[in-house]
Structure formats: C-alpha cells, structure tokens
C-alpha cells in the first residue's frame, strides 16, 4: 500500500506546480498557447489570443524564459531526523510509512507562490522527516498515541492545496516531524437516505466524494475551487467555502458530526441532532483549527439529491459599480442563484484571452455581432464593462423562473444577458487559472491570489483601494513593468460579500522577486484590514497571516484559542504552529 499510495500521487501530479502532470499550458512552436491533456474542456485546445494578452499585459516575451528545474534533486532534501523508537513501534502496528525524499518533499509545502517558486528553483527547505498513511480512524488513534508517547511532531496532510503556508514545517522544530497523510482514508462509510446524510472518511478528495455520491443519486454541493485536489478533512480544518454555498451552505453548515483524534483522546458529539443548545458548539473549535488540535478522521455531512437541471448564465454590466449594486440587490432579495460571481474589467479581458479558437466563420461572425451590439449599440465602454457569471440549479421550472427574476434585477442596473457560454467559460476558468500561474512562471511572471470578506457598503472601496495599493507597492518596490491587479466578487451574503484578488507581475530585473512579491502581498493585506475587510474568508490563517490574528480576534480571543490548544495538546504534538 505504501507503493500505491505514493505512486498514485507522483505519477499523475506535478511535484513543483499545480495539478495533473499531463495538464499544462504552453506556447507551442508557432507561438500559440495551448492547454495539454484530456482532462478539461479546454484540454487540447489552441488559445490564439492568449499570447498577445500575455505579452501586452505583462510586457513579457516568449524569448525570455525562466524554466523550472525539471526533476527533484533528492540530494537537496535534508536527511530525515528519525525517532527510532517511534519508527519501531509504528512498524509493529503495521501502518505504512516512508522516508523517501520524494514523498517527504511532496508533503512539505502547499501552493503559496513562494513555496512553488522555491521548488521550481530546486530549493527544498525543512520537510517532514517521515510520511505515514493511516487507513482508518483506529490507525490514526494509534499513531497519535505513539506520537505523544515518543514526543514526535505530527502534521496532518490532506490534499496539499493550502495557500496559507500551513503545511510548511516550522524551521525551529527540532523533533522528528511526521506528515500524517489521510489519503488512504477515502471511503464513504454509509449513506442515510432518511436523514439525507453521509458518513465519510476525512481523507476523501472533493471530486471523488461528489462522483461516488452521484452514483447513488446524491451530492454534497460543496464545490470549492480546489475540489479536484482538496480533502474533506482539509475543508473542515480551514472552514472552507464552496462555490454553490447559496444553496448548500459553507462547510460549517454542511457538517452534522465530526470525529477528531486529539492527544487528549477522541472528540465527538453523542448524537446527530440537527442543532443543539449545549454551550458553545464544539464543532467550532474544530472547524478552522488548521491541524493544530488533532486529525479529523470521519465526518457526517448533509447530502442532497443531484439537481434535475443546471443552467449557466452571464450578465454584462457597463461598469463594476453597477455590477456590485446588482449583486447587492440580489442578496437583499435573497434570490442569489447557486453561484453568482462578478469579474472586474481586467478579468473580463483575461477571460477573453482564453477563448479557444472558434470552429466556424459563423461563430466568429456571431461574436463580432455581440461585441458590436454591446459596445456600439448599447454604448458600453470596453475598458470599463464587467461581467457576472451565474449558475442556476434545481428543477427546471423553478430554475427558469429564478433566472428571469435575476435577469430582471440585473436589467435595473444596466445589465445585459450575455449568454450561457460566457457563464460556463467563467466557471471553467476557475479550475484552470491555477495552471496558468505555472505558465506565467515559465516566462518571468509571478502571480498570486488572496481573498477577504467585507460588508456590502465597503465592497467597492476595498476593491478599488487594494487594487491601487498593489499597483503602487509594485512601483515602489522597483517592479519594472506594470502589474496585473484585478478582483472579483465571488460570494454574496446578507451582510456582505467575499472578494477575491489576483495580482501578477513581470519580475525581470528584480534580484529577489519573491521578497518583493511578499512585501506587496503584505501591504495588500494591510490595506484590506484598514478598509474593513477580514483576514480571510476561506483560505485560513496558517502561518502566512497569523501576525494579524491578535488585531483580528482581540487579545482575549487569542487567549481563548490558546487555552483550548493548551488543554487539548499540551505537548504541542500537532506542532505545525498555524493560527496562533
């Protein structure tokens, strides 16, 4: 099982970039961009407009390449610090483990820019000394008991898609660090159709969970953008949010029961009642604990029948302000579709650059006509307009009714329906955008995204100021080319929205691009907080953002969390040092 466990990952996934090894963007010999592989709708397609957009936006050139180190140099990985007694006992309980350099390096990072950048340069910092693959809840209990007994540091590992430096091994840790990989705990244990719940092992990856449930006619509806690779346990421990939360809710709304193994023993509730008034909800100590308290092993989740009908849609607005006003109104009337997202003008342009080659003259004629209608006939300024993408779900009749309601509201804010294709492409981009970062990094362009949540009255202010701050900081820090600084509103709530920012710049001419990038990101976060945004909506705090925890949750708040940690894990076995 050791073999199959790590062979599976290494064979299909990149060790120094995002996603599947067979899927990547590249510029072919003709200088055209294409997306390789067969996994996505975009796979195998030529994207004729991407090169011009890429060169135009970043001042990059296909002549200037910054390729990654192709293979992991195992000698660059530090020799493991092993706790022999722990290893011996582990062998005796029969849990598979490994201390191969590849396995360890693979689990020593998430997907922050600085982590990937270092890997591409072949630099490997402190990585776990060993990886264990428990097969079930009982295995985890045994491993945690052993870790406590031998004072070994445990870092739970799910899908490895963290973007908060949560998986980085604390350099100051002197004990042996063991990465506890939950990937083998990936079964649906039971489905309860009377209560519409499913009991699932926490190591299951999002797309597998949905696929398996679909086979029985159900779904969870929890679809974070990383769902191809992220795990259920990871969602619980970071307070994840899914694209379709308007119908299904965020992770905290979806879980009915959680089982977690801590150094003090197992924590769980005694029943599966839908709501309890039994003091502070213990689930909320677990949700968002980021692997500092224990390992989530099993979760009971709500499930829903697979929706009968799905429909994409899109609306073009003359400007971002109108778009936000429309989303606000939709939220006010509580009629948000399964998903509604508003991209700003920069992203709209970006989306256009990713249009595949059109198959016929007729489609290209139609596209031209649409463009003419919007810009000339309706007078939208192409450098200001923005687009909202929509996803409706439910029974057919209701979807159509709902769709009409939303388009009517949009019309009040100057919005024009812009077709299903644009909507669908918008959502597809969500899954391929992470691949695009790797393409950029091949040509001196580094990029990162970050998110926040903010009250409605501040959405525009946060968007404007953070984007402008990124531009200013890049300039001040000596970035030679103007950066891409863009945002979108990805979720709506009664009292506010979730905003996602993207920034990217060409780093040619900078001696330490990662440091510059980190300063810019830091400044951007300061700007978010100064403008009334939150520290994080769903990525979590990890180590990347923990310097702001005190100001975010107050001195007492930090003390409360600390005292829970002190009780549950006095020896700091779960020593990834996230959050606090």
């Amino acid at each position: 099982c050791v073999i199959c466990g790590n062979a599976w990952r290494h064979e299909v996934m990149k060790w120094n970039g995002w996603g599947y090894s067979d899927s990547r963007f590249l510029f072919n010999k003709k200088g055209q961009a294409e997306f390789t592989g067969k996994r996505y709708k975009l796979s195998g397609m030529i994207l004729p407009a991407l090169k011009d957009w890429f060169e135009g936006t970043f001042g990059a050139s296909l002549q200037h390449k910054s390729p990654a180190t192709p293979l992991l140099n195992t000698s660059a990985v530090q020799a493991p610090t092993l706790n022999q007694d722990f290893v011996e006992e582990l062998k005796s309980i029969g849990v598979p483990f490994s201390h191969e350099a590849e396995d360890r390096a693979f689990r020593g990072h998430g997907h922050c820019l600085h982590e990937i950048f270092a890997l591409r340069e072949g630099k490997i910092g402190r990585v776990p000394d060993m990886v264990v693959w428990p097969n079930c809840h009982n295995d985890v209990e045994k491993i945690v008991a052993l870790a406590c007994k031998h004072n070994v540091c445990l870092i739970p590992y799910g899908g490895g898609t963290s973007v908060s430096s949560a998986l980085e091994c604390p350099p100051e840790e002197t004990r042996s660090i063991v990465s506890l990989d939950t990937s083998q705990m990936n079964r649906i244990l039971w489905i309860d159709e009377k209560n519409l719940t499913a009991h699932v092992e926490a190591g299951i990856i999002g797309q597998d969970l949905e696929r398996l449930l679909n086979e029985s006619g159900y779904c969870t509806g929890h679809e974070p953008d990383s769902m191809e690779f992220s795990s259920l346990g990871g969602w619980v421990s970071t307070r994840a949010s899914g694209m379709k939360k308007n119908i299904y809710g965020n992770i905290e709304d979806l879980v009915v029961h959680i089982k977690m193994v801590t150094p003090q023993g197992v924590i769980e509730k005694s029943c599966q009642g839908p709501r309890m008034s039994t003091g502070p909800d213990i689930h909320h100590f677990i949700l968002g604990s980021e692997g500092t308290l224990g390992v989530v092993t099993e979760v009971t989740m709500k499930i829903r029948p697979v929706p009968e009908y799905q429909k994409y849609g899109s609306v073009v607005f003359p400007n971002f302000e109108q778009g936000v006003a429309c989303l606000r109104e939709v939220a006010k009337q509580r009629c948000a579709p399964a998903s509604i997202r508003l991209m700003d003008n920069e992203q709209f342009m970006f989306g256009h650059a990713l249009k595949p080659q059109v198959s016929s003259i007729f489609t290209s004629f139609l596209d031209g006509l649409k463009k003419f209608y919007i810009t000339k006939f309706k007078g939208f300024d192409p450098s200001r307009l923005c687009v909202a993408t929509l996803l409706f779900e439910g029974n057919r009749e209701k979807v159509l009714q709902h769709e009409k309601q939303v388009y009517d509201i949009a019309a009040k804010f100057g919005g024009l329906a812009a077709g299903e294709d644009n909507g669908q492409r918008g959502y597809m981009l969500t899954f391929v955008i992470a691949y695009l970062r790797d393409l950029g990094m091949d040509y001196y362009v580094i990029a990162e995204s970050f998110e926040t949540s903010v009250p409605w009255d501040r959405v525009l202010d946060v968007c404007r100021n953070v984007k402008a701050r990124v531009v200013r900081e890049c300039k001040d820090k000596g970035v030679q080319f103007s950066p891409l600084s863009s945002c979108r509103v990805t979720q709506t709530y009664d009292a506010g929205a979730c905003v996602y920012f993207y920034f990217a710049f060409n780093y040619r001419g900078l001696s330490d691009p990662v440091h510059v990038y980190e300063q810019v990101e830091h400044a951007a976060r300061e700007e978010i907080l100064a403008n009334g945004g939150s520290l994080s909506h769903h990525h979590g705090v990890g180590k990347l953002r923990k310097e702001w925890m005190r100001e975010t949750v107050s001195e007492v708040g930090v003390g409360m969390l600390q005292s829970v940690k002190d009780y549950v894990d006095p020896k700091n076995i779960f020593g990834n040092r996230n959050l606090l």
Binding site: D457, R458, D461, V462, R464, N465, A468, R469, L529, A530, N531, G532, E551
Partner: protein, 608 residues
Amino acid sequence: MLKKRDDFEDILEERRNSSDLRYALKCYTPVLYKQLTPCTASDLKNMVLCSTQVHFVIAQVSKETGAAPEEVQAEASSILEEMAHRLQLGPIRFFAFVLCKVFKTLFRSVCVNEEGIQRLQQSIHEHPVVLLPSHRSYMDFLLMSYILYTYDLALPVIAAGMDFMGMKILGEMLRMSGAFFIRRSFGGDKLYWAVFSEYVRTMLKTGFAPVEFFLEGTRSRTSKSLTPKLGLLNIVMEPFLKGEVFDVALVPVSISYERILEESLYARELLGVPKPKESTSGLFKARKVLSENYGSIHVYFGQPVSVRSLAEGRVQRGQFNLIPRHIPRRPSEDVQGFVNDSAYQLLRAQEENMVLKPWVLLSSLLLRGGGMMMEELSEGAVWLRELCRQYGAFLHWPETRFNFKQSPDALTLNTGAQKGAGLTAEEELLSQAVIILSCASYRNQALHVFVRPALLATALQAAGSAHKQDVFNTFNFLRNMFANEFILCPGAAVQDFEEACFLLMKTGVVLMEQEEVLVTENGHRTITFLTSILDPFLQGYQVVCRFLCEASTESLTEAQFVPAVRTFIVRLLLSGLSFKHFSCFQTHSHCVCVCVCVCVCCRATKIL
C-alpha cells in the same frame, strides 16, 4: 539647505502679444480624474441630498426638534441651494477676458512654475486634488482659476466666505465660476455641517473638480501666514481615512505679491478702521487701484502631498470599521492630531516657496529703526541676501547689480502715504503708523526664513547661560509663547531647535562645544539682526502685558479688548515713546485671536 526649485514662466507675456478674446474663447479640454463619475453641478446637489449621511442627520434633527422630516429635508435643500456653485464655462471665459485686461494693467508679470503645473496635471489625473493657496488678497482665487484656465487644467471649486454672496451680480458670477459659499460660523448647526461637509466630500470623491480652500481661513493682513483652520482640511481628509478614495493629493500653492492690492487697507484695518463690507459698488469704487502699479506676482505650485503617505503609521484607519461610516462622529484624538500636524506641514510648504523680493529684505533692515545711509543700506542688503540664501529662502533678485532706482514701486508707494499736513497729533501718528505697518508687512514675508534662528538668537541672549539645555529651555519658552504668532509645528520643538542650531552653525554664527552654545566673533552681526526681527513681537507682547497690569481694571469682552489695547498704545506713543514702538500696533493686532493673546499674556505674566 539649498533647495532645487523650478523656473518661472510669465503668463502675461503671451497675453500682451496676442488677442485676449481669442484666448477667452480658446478650446478648453482639461485633463480629468481617471475615475471621474461624470456629473453636472445639479447632479451633485442630488447626490448630496440623497446621501446616507445627510439622510441620517435629517432623521436625527427631525427627531430632536419634532419637525417633520419633509421640513428638515426642505431646509437641507435650501442650505445647499445657498451654498452650491454652478460651475459653467461661459462665465469663466468672461472672467478670463476681463482678468486679462485687469492683470495687464495692474501687474508687470504673473510668473508661474510650469513644472508645478505639470505635476498638478498628473495629480489631477491620478487622484482627487485639493488646492491650498496662501491667502493674502481677494485676488488669490481669481488668480488661481485664471492660471488653471490658462494652462488647460480642471477648474477648481472654491470655498468662499458668505460675504461675497452679498455682492449683487458678482456673487452670482463667482458662483458660476466655481465658488461655493459657506457661512463663517455655524457652530452647533448639525444640518448645516452635514450638508456642507457632504457637499465638499462628494465633489472630491467623484473627482468633479479640484477643491480649493484657504488653510489660513482668512486673508492674512500682515503678510505672515496665519495658524491653520482645520475644519475643511478635516473634511477633505475624511474620504481617504474612511477608505472611500485611494488617496487625496494636497497641493500647497504659494502666491507672492510684490505689492498687495489691499495693502493700505490692511494697515488701516490693523489700526482699527473697520473692513469695508464686500459689495459690488464698493468694488466699482475701488477701481482706482487700476491706475497703480503692483509689480509682479509669483505663483509656485508646490509638490503634491499624498494624504496616504502623511497618514502612514499615524492614523489607524481600522478605527472606522465598526460603526457605519455615514454616522457623523467627532474625529478621534489621533485623527485630530494628525490633521493639525498636516496643516502645519502644509503651511510650511507654502511658506518655503514664497518668493522674496529685494524690498522685503530692505524693509527688514529699515525697520530696525534709526536713520540709514544709502550705502549702508545697500551693503546691508547684499549681506542679508547672502544670509537668506544660506537659510534656504527663495529669492527673486534682479540680475543686474542691485540699484534702488530700479525698484521704485515699493518705495514710491510708501512715500505716497506720507503726504497730508495739518492733522491732529493723533492723526499724524496714525498716518505714520500706516507707513510702518506697510513696511512691516513686507518684512513679515521673510519671517518664516528667520523665525527659528531668531528664536535661538533671542534665547541665547535671554538664557543667561550658554549651556545647551538652558538655551533650549528658553528657546522652548519663546516658541510656546509665539506658537500662535508664527507657523511652528506643534510638538516639534526639538526639531526646530536643531534646525536653528544647524543653520547658525552652518553660517558660522555659533559653535557647539561640549553642551555649550557659543556665539563666535563674526556671529554678532547676525545675532543682532536676528534678535531685531523678533524684537517688535516681544515688545508688542510686553505692551499688552503692561496694559493688562496697568490699565485694565475691569474685565473686558473680546470685542472691547482690541480697541482698548489700541487706545492704550496710542496714549503711550503720544506721551513720547520712541519711534520703535510703532510696531506695537502691528504686534497687538497680530494676536488675531484675542483669547489666545490673553492666554499667552497670562502665561507670560505668571512666569515673569
């Protein structure tokens, strides 16, 4: 200390060589704010009346007074009606035409630093802009708009005092050229404040036009910067502090007149002749000024100051996160301190770029009293010019060897007032005082250059010890006493002291030896000059103290205080005090704010 400053360009030169009419009708396409929400002047009014801020206060006022919300709404609407500008291009063109004619008659040249204009244009494109000109004359805002029109820049909206609105026709014309009128005092009127502040903020946030106002609040009658008024500065900084705009650019503008139009008017005002009420007919009568020569004007557009960088590390912007931003709140202590410090910083930036003409230095020398030979004066001027240069002053000195015959305007103007025989002793005295005061107002233009070294020089003489700490203590005492007299940033005593020490050391006036500050052999001339600069102010304060001790038995109201002091001084002078004491007139009037003066005096008497 030598600052790099831009070169000037005379904008009247072109006007003298080409058609004014064509100029007034020229194609005008200014660069606008990049995030401009296009709207008209009346759209602005609607935005203000529909804003959550104004709505909130309307509801509040209606609840407190029991008036129907519609009534309060109507009142808000009429306040706005009274206040709002109606910026239009037509009247601007008319003004452009008339002002061309007027300026060409009055002034030899109007010089502008074009690089400053370019910087301003850049700023207008990038951020909402606030223009902060110095205020010495009614001419200031007309001049500003004229210059911006000439350079094809966005025309500003200008906060003007209500007094102008009283002027028939002209008031309306000013309104159409961008002036909006605010009441001088509206202390507790919540509704007025809400409408007014929202109006200014809306213009700023939408990028409708650069907002222009005078930090000093009113025209300085003495050519020396007045301590700042903070109300409007608070308002224009708020959109940044509350995150409603990314940044606001504050542009200090220094307008230096060779001779101020209201010159003799100011002197008389200082002596107790009340300021004439602004009226169109008054203006018409004043047309006689057209026959005189007022020399040249230098307008320096300073480096735009970003509110964001000013606030960096000073203000916790997160303080607005927990209460809806439209609910009016008194600014927190750190915001108040921040706005106050910024105001002083901006005023200093204004002062630094004031252009000093030769006559300013001559007045400084002449006012030291006693007679003076022409050669002596000439030699002194050259010496003083060098000193000014080393202190970083912005001098405008004729290129040829300085010759008095070449700058007759200033001298003639002063002889002008000397005529008139057969007056009573008191009238005689007053007319003499007018001359002295006019002269002093020239000297005052250079005060900002000398004030810190002068405080140190006086402290050196008064301290009675050369020990650095003692000197600093005396310096600090004087500095506090004159806090309302000169532009001295609050809380910057140490910096000011060090700056003064640096300047005096650089010019070889003092030496620092083991915690001792020693005056050098060659330094005495400078020390004498510097103390003479501060002398009139010290004397003035002394006289006021004397008045408080001797003459004032019963308590006086604020309004009675100034005239009472004035009569007291006249009595003193008539009873044979020396010529030098004329300047007391100016000083006592300098204490513009009577309360402050009293308070200073109380402090002074307590210590003395």
